[in-house]
């Protein structure tokens, strides 16, 4: 189970600027991190549900479970995603 923190999200060309309200830190993220955050939402999802939703909503042909786990772990380290 993971959920996105309270964020301000603005899409800029290839990147997405994200303001993390809790820390006041600005992040500049490349795909698929913004898509993961948007899909998780603040309510949160289990890893399996997240993978299923991402696969349904986005064209993520070359994206496997291991890669998703890595991206998710990075987002947790950055503080943008909290684990429950």
């Amino acid at each position: 189970m993971a959920r996105a923190e309270s964020l301000r999200i603005v899409h800029l060309d290839a990147f997405t600027a994200i303001y993390h309200r809790a820390s006041g830190i600005t992040h500049l993220l490349a795909s698929p991190a913004p898509e993961i955050l948007a899909t998780l939402g603040e309510a949160g999802l289990s890893r399996a549900d997240l993978a299923a939703k991402l696969a349904a909503q986005y064209d993520m042909a070359d994206f496997d479970a291991a890669a998703l786990a890595e991206r998710l772990d990075e987002l947790v380290v950055s503080g943008l995603v909290a684990t429950a």
Binding site: R8, V10, D13, G24, L28
Partner: protein
């Protein structure tokens, strides 16, 4: 303090106290046409670190509401520079109402052109030269973006001209008023240009930004569009208070980046730069 001076520059009021008469007298002369603040936002103090330093090789220490711990004192002959540095420091460290961009700004037809870049990129020089061609000088150091409206507020302090820029601007504006030439400062030779009457008269009028330029001096003339994400990163670095004002800064900056086109221009000489700026502006 023995001597005091206050001035309002755009929306910001300053009070400068000094142990010596000379810097205050220079400020009074150069800022003679500026209004007085109702209440100063920032205070700067120029004082002698030791009592005898008022008289013996007088040395000006800068203090204020916000200070840098390791700022070296300046000789009294550079007292005006000390005052200006102190005022800039208060803005850079203490300004919270506006998103502060380290950029020069000029206005034409009710819209602002912002020029951001590192020291030596020519921000001040280009702003001064454009003001000689009918643009309104809004400021050579800081552009103030109001997070509530997105408008750019003017901050037309004295224009700080350095080294070769001094002669270039004196030639373009022979009838303008200037401060004393201060040779051998930590930043080289410095001379201040007094913004013209139009700049002071209109300094309370904010305008929407229309173009952001990142000039670089010393290259063949060239121009390229700068993508939004690069503009965003460059301007967070060019802002002294982006982090301090939090979410308002994020909103103000992303709005600016999403709505205003940005270009990087390389220029071999100021004449070429002015021609490029005028052409880009005309093409908007």
């Amino acid at each position: 303090m023995r001597h005091a001076f206050s001035v309002r520059i755009g929306p910001v009021g300053f009070r400068i106290g000094s142990d010596w008469r000379a810097p205050v007298a220079q400020l009074e002369t150069l800022y003679a046409d500026y209004p007085k603040p109702e209440i100063p936002d920032f205070t700067v103090r120029l004082f002698a670190a030791r009592p005898w330093r008022r008289f013996v090789r007088p040395s000006v220490t800068i203090e204020g509401d916000f200070v840098l711990p390791d700022a070296a004192p300046l000789p009294l002959a550079q007292g005006l520079l000390a005052a200006e540095m102190g005022m800039n420091l208060q803005m850079a460290l203490g300004q919270r109402r506006f998103l502060l961009l380290h950029a020069s700004a000029v206005e034409r037809d009710g819209r602002a052109l912002l020029m951001a870049g590192v020291s030596g990129a020519g921000k001040s020089t280009l702003a001064a030269l454009l003001s000689a061609r009918g643009w309104r000088l809004m400021g050579d150091e800081f552009a103030l973006v109001d997070p509530a409206t997105g408008l750019v507020h003017a901050f037309p302090r004295l224009v700080s001209l350095k080294n070769t820029a001094i002669g270039v601007v004196e030639a373009a504006l022979p009838n303008a008023r200037y401060g004393p030439l201060m040779a051998g400062t930590p930043k080289g030779d410095i001379r201040h240009l007094v913004p013209d009457a139009a700049a002071v008269a209109a300094m309370n009028e904010p305008v929407p930004p229309a173009l952001i330029l990142f000039p670089s001096y010393g290259f063949e003339a060239e121009s390229r569009a700068v993508p939004e994400s690069e503009v965003f990163v460059r301007l967070t670095q060019a802002s002294t208070n982006y982090v301090a004002i939090g979410e308002r800064g994020f909103d103000a900056l992303t709005r600016l980046v999403k709505t205003v086109p940005a270009r990087a221009i390389d220029y071999p000489d100021t004449e070429s730069a002015i021609a490029q700026v005028e052409a880009l502006w005309a093409a908007l």
